[in-house]
Amino acid sequence: MSTTDIEQELTTEQQAVVDAVNAAAAATTAEMSDQEKYGVQFDHGLAWVNFPVGDGGLGVSTSLREFAADQMTKAGLQPPPRGSNTIGFGMAAPTIVAYGNEEQRAVLRKIYTLETIFCQLFSEPGAGSDLAAVATRAVRNEDGYLINGQKVWTSSAHNADMAILVARTDTEVPKHQGLSYFLLDMHAPGVEVRGLRQITGEAEFNEVFLTDVQIPAGYMLGEPGQGWKISNTTLNNERVAIGGGNPREGGMIAQVAKTWRDNPEYRDPLLHDELVRLWVEVEASRMMSERLSQKLAAGQPGPEGSGAKLAFATNNQLLSGLEIALSGVDGLRYDTYEMRRPVEHSMTGRIPGYRYLRAKGNSIEGGTSEIIRNIIAERVLGLPGEHRVDKDVAFKDLPK
């Protein structure tokens, strides 16, 4: 559906994309390193076609991204793997292009060429669902800002070169008003990264301790006090696009159905019904996501995205819990509790016990199911927001 009919007239914007692709293809040689090739793509505005010219874009509409990707593929231009710089592509770049000054926007090229890997320093031990409760301080001094605090739930911090950081520059105003948004050099003195061990044994995430880290004044994005607004831009970009076109019996249900099929000795009418019931739940959820993606394609954004996240967490947890019972004694075997730092986690590569434990995080990461239910109730159903006691009180006066 997304590929244009070759016979069809191209729009002016499409033509601009085609021209850029052709020019980039002409400028790319087989001898170039990957990094150099990515640089050529960036310089021709093919990194993010909707970004302004000069920032890796062509200034065309966002809906042309998929068209551009198709054209690049046809022309043999291979874009960088986004997974190598997830935060850079997904969160840092859109925020920097929106709020960065010219000097700051220079990092966009390095994000695209994978020279500068980003991580995100938002959450803190005391600021989880309530991100505006960030307590990390950024104090103005003659060299810029001095940062002190502790961040948590940072993925890939040990590989990152730069971070996007939210810190508090003013404690005299209410909590949402005293935050500012910074870029941070992860190699700067005073930045310490420690793996945060999870209940599975391994550490997918990190704690980051910031002790007297000096930041140049020019590393602040936007104005002092704009941190809350800017970080919401970032988080809106975090929202995973709901798939659509997912296969039937994909993901966790595939795993558990396989376990059922492979272990006839532990079958039981109750577990059977529970498995089929969850199969139906997952299928109904898949259809809702399918409908959402069709609505989006038709230009009708729908609210089902939050619902899909809620359903995903619930179904994954019930399925992984069931799988243990379907596996008899083998359900109680564990592979390793060793403290490791996996490059990425996969729900299907390991044993039922790992899946059971890891799936518990599905209702917490990326917004707890409680926060998601609030969002559905308030934004989708139009019910009143929760009573707030922290809106008009200076941050320093809030109970911690």
Partner: protein, 374 residues
């Protein structure tokens, strides 16, 4: 699998508007409630309106038989609206299940009467049975047959003009038709008076054989798959309307100086219910579209059957949950006759058992998805 488009078509939306405004004018909740006080309330004006005037009796009849030749998806929209209005309309039993049987068996004369809204038919099986089997004795003699036996709780048998009997399975299947005058249908007071049941007795009842053998078995299977899909759409309509009534209520009702919709426990339950109802809606639309594709020769019956069981088992439970939650959110008012909620609760609970309860449907689904118990 084909690409299934899940967004409503213009035809469907027009159809939705027509049936909704008809039911709003001819079958409001006061009218439905009156059927509880007087089961003999005259519904002939309503029957004429949907079946003849709006032409819904002919909706699923092919154009070559002078029907509307509509898709299952269009029929599902009608059914959803019937659920939203808990309307006492014999669409499911007569215009969908019985009509599908008659069409598939080439019973042209019966199809014409049904399509014209001149007659209504009921399939004589117990309302709560997972199959259409009548469980009676049918003795054939050429095109005629004699039927003996009793079928308890047949949907909308009282007032039907023809009773369709299904007997046997596979190559032994027989489908026959008995004129209402030749059987005894005793309507009884039903938990859900918006869809009445009757005990039907056949005593040496003369019947006309409509079909037999594999062809008859195929027709029964098709009618079951389509019927289940249409019923699921109705259940979704009941669920969505129950949810809407609850949402409206909690936005208005105040206790302790706040709307009860501002209490987080209520908000979270509504969020969960919204998710379940939305998923039911998506599953129903999907099943109806797949069934339409199957009718058009673009999908297998196995896929249509699978999707009907997904939608049926899911929507049936969601409808009951939605009606129960909606009642609870109305507090004492939900327990009163004056509020319409009880009509939804009763319909949802009765619907839950029609064509088999959810666990029975899941058991039928299991082999289709290769998750077998044995």
């Amino acid at each position: 699998m084909t690409d299934i488009d899940l967004l409503p078509s213009e035809i469907e939306e027009d159809l939705r508007d027509s049936i909704r405004s008809l039911l709003e004018s001819k079958s409001d909740s006061a009218f439905v409630a009156s059927l509880y006080d007087d089961p003999d309330t005259d519904t002939s004006a309503l029957d004429a309106a949907w079946a003849e005037e709006l032409g819904l009796a002919a909706l699923l009849v092919p154009e070559e038989l002078d029907g509307a030749g509509a898709t299952i998806s269009e029929a599902a929209v009608v059914s959803e609206e019937i659920g939203r209005a808990v309307a006492p309309v014999r669409f499911f039993s007569s215009a969908v299940v019985a009509t599908t049987l008659a069409v598939r068996l080439g019973a042209t004369e019966l199809v014409e009467r049904l399509a014209a809204g001149e007659a209504f038919a009921a399939v004589a099986c117990p309302a709560t049975s997972a199959t259409l089997d009548s469980g009676v004795t049918v003795v054939e003699s050429g095109e005629d047959a004699v039927v003996n036996g009793t079928v308890p709780g047949v949907i909308e048998a009282a007032g039907a003009d023809e009773l369709i009997v299904v007997s046997g399975s596979g190559d032994d299947t027989i489908v026959a038709s008995v004129a209402a005058a030749d059987a005894k249908a005793e309507a009884f007071l039903t938990l859900d008076q918006s869809r009445r049941l009757a005990d039907v007795t056949f005593a040496d009842a003369p019947a006309r054989v409509l079909g037999r053998g594999a062809q008859a078995a195929d027709a029964v299977r098709a009618a079951t798959v389509i019927g289940r899909t249409i019923l699921a759409a109705e259940q979704y309509g009941v669920a969505q309307r129950s949810f809407d009534l609850a949402l409206d209520y909690i936005k208005e009702r105040r206790q302790f100086g706040r709307t009860i919709g501002s209490y987080q426990a209520i908000k979270h339950r509504m969020a969960d219910l919204w998710l379940a109802v939305s998923q039911a809606g998506a599953a129903v639309t999907y099943a109806a579209r797949v069934a339409s594709a199957w009718q058009a020769g673009e999908e297998t019956i196995e896929e249509a059957e699978l999707c009907s069981l997904v939608a049926g088992s899911y929507a049936s439970t969601v409808a009951v949950n939605a009606a129960e939650e909606a009642l609870q959110m109305h507090g004492g008012n939900g327990m009163t006759w004056e509020f319409p909620l009880h009509l939804y609760l009763k319909r949802a609970k009765a619907d839950e058992l029609i064509l088999g309860h959810a666990a029975a449907q899941r058991r039928q689904l299991a082999p289709l998805i290769d998750i077998t118990l044995d």
